[in-house]
Structures are given as structure tokens and as C-alpha cells.
């Protein structure tokens, strides 16, 4: 079974440029999440999709960040324009559970390998 895949694995851009990160969840997983870890800090929730709908985007830092999940399959996270403080690792995760049921004991949230974003 293919896992959660993210592209690119690394991105180095200059301040003011635009970057688009992509996440392909595990096939059949309706729930897709974006998290990020900035230097020295904890992994923080950004937003949650159920299929193509945004369930919760309360963790998005500001309006320079735009996430989409057209067709309810893969998702993109665009940062425009990028700022220095956006540097970090952006993780995507997916899950099959229904919202409101929580993570079942034997089921898990599957993470991708992350995109390391460096804004210079």
C-alpha cells in the first residue's frame, strides 16, 4: 500500500517568492491534514480537509497560506508571498476515520515524509 507522499521533499526559495507544496494521501482516505514544524518548535496543526471541504483551517497562520483539495484527492498548500518565518517542515497526514469518531485504537493517522521549506 502506498503511503502519504509529499512533493517536493525540499524547497529553497527567496523571500517574496511563491511555493506550492503537494500532498497525495493514501488512496481512499477522506481526511487530509496539514501540519508544520518551524525551527525549534512543536508540530502544529494547520488545517483539515474532509474530501474536498475544509473542515477546520483554524491553524493557518495568515492569508498568505492557501490550501486546496480539488476533487477530494491530492491537496496543495501554497505560500504566497513566502516570508522568512515560513521556513520549516510541512507535514501532510491522512486518515480514513469519520470525523467525530476519533482515532480508533487500531487505526492511525498516517504522515508523509514532509517538505522541508527554506525561505532565504
Amino acid at each position: 500500500e502506498a503511503g502519504v507522499t509529499q512533493f517536493p521533499s525540499h524547497s529553497v526559495i527567496e523571500k517574496g517568492q511563491t511555493v506550492t507544496l503537494r500532498c497525495d494521501p493514501i488512496s481512499g482516505h477522506d481526511n487530509l491534514y496539514w501540519y508544520r514544524r518551524v525551527m525549534g518548535k512543536e508540530i502544529k496543526f494547520l488545517l483539515h480537509f474532509v474530501k474536498e471541504s475544509k473542515q477546520d483551517e483554524s491553524g493557518m497562520p495568515n492569508n498568505r497560506f492557501l490550501a486546496e483539495r480539488t476533487g477530494g484527492t491530492y491537496s496543495t498548500l501554497k505560500v504566497q508571498p513566502a516570508e522568512l518565518e515560513d521556513s520549516g517542515v510541512y507535514f501532510c497526514a491522512s486518515s480514513q476515520e469519520r470525523v467525530g469518531q476519533g482515532l480508533r485504537t487500531n487505526e492511525k493517522l498516517f504522515f508523509g515524509s514532509g517538505t522541508q521549506l527554506s525561505v532565504l
Binding site: 503511503g3 491534514y33 508540530i43 483539515h48
Partner: protein
């Protein structure tokens, strides 16, 4: 805001040693606590704990939750170099968006041969 604190932040041990990692939390409407292992890439799931006092084991790893103390420990016995990783603790709340995990900063474990 939910809070998860892990300790120590890092440690270095030798192969064969036993390691104990700590996680304490403050969360509204707790549902579960999860442990992940992050090597070079994706965090991988280790344990989910929902009930106090019930130890979960997987090989040389074990974990237990203490809801009274709002904490959990992760033990690794007979450590190997392959156990070198960042160990992440996260809590899952009961809420309308119950996947909004709150993570600790992680404990970096280095096992030397």
C-alpha cells in the same frame, strides 16, 4: 490552548541501556495520547493510550498513561542504534475536530554503539 511538554529534550545513551521518556499534557476534553517515532522522515505511529494504568507493549518499547498525573512515559529497553530518533508525544481531544493533534517538541534520542 492545549499544551504538551516532553522531557528530556534530548539524551544520549549507549546500546543496551534503558531509556524513559516523559510526556505531560494539559488538554481540554482529553481523548487519547499518542506516541510517534520520527527518524529521518515521516513520523510513524507507536502507541495510542486512552486508559490509565494499562501498559502497551511492542517489542522493546512500552508505554503507559496516568490520567491522574496527566502524563505518560515511553520506555525503550536494551536500546539499539536503530532506536535513534525523535520521539513525539501528541494528545487528541474530544471535539468537533478530533484530529487536531497537539504535539510536544519531541525528545531526541541518540543511541551510540
Amino acid at each position: 490552548e492545549d499544551k504538551v511538554v516532553q522531557s528530556p529534550l534530548s539524551l544520549v545513551v549507549h546500546e543496551g541501556d534503558t531509556v524513559t521518556l516523559n510526556c505531560s499534557y494539559e488538554v481540554t476534553n482529553f481523548r487519547s495520547l499518542l506516541w510517534y517515532k520520527q527518524e529521518k522522515k515521516a513520523p510513524t505511529f507507536l502507541f495510542m493510550l486512552t486508559s490509565s494504568g494499562i501498559e502497551k507493549k511492542s517489542g522493546r518499547l512500552s508505554s503507559i498513561l496516568d490520567k491522574k498525573e496527566l502524563s505518560s512515559i515511553l520506555n525503550i529497553t536494551a536500546t539499539q542504534t536503530g532506536d535513534s530518533a525523535i520521539y513525539l508525544c501528541a494528545v487528541e481531544p474530544i471535539s468537533s475536530n478530533d484530529y487536531k493533534l497537539s504535539f510536544g517538541a519531541g525528545t531526541t534520542v541518540t543511541v551510540r554503539a
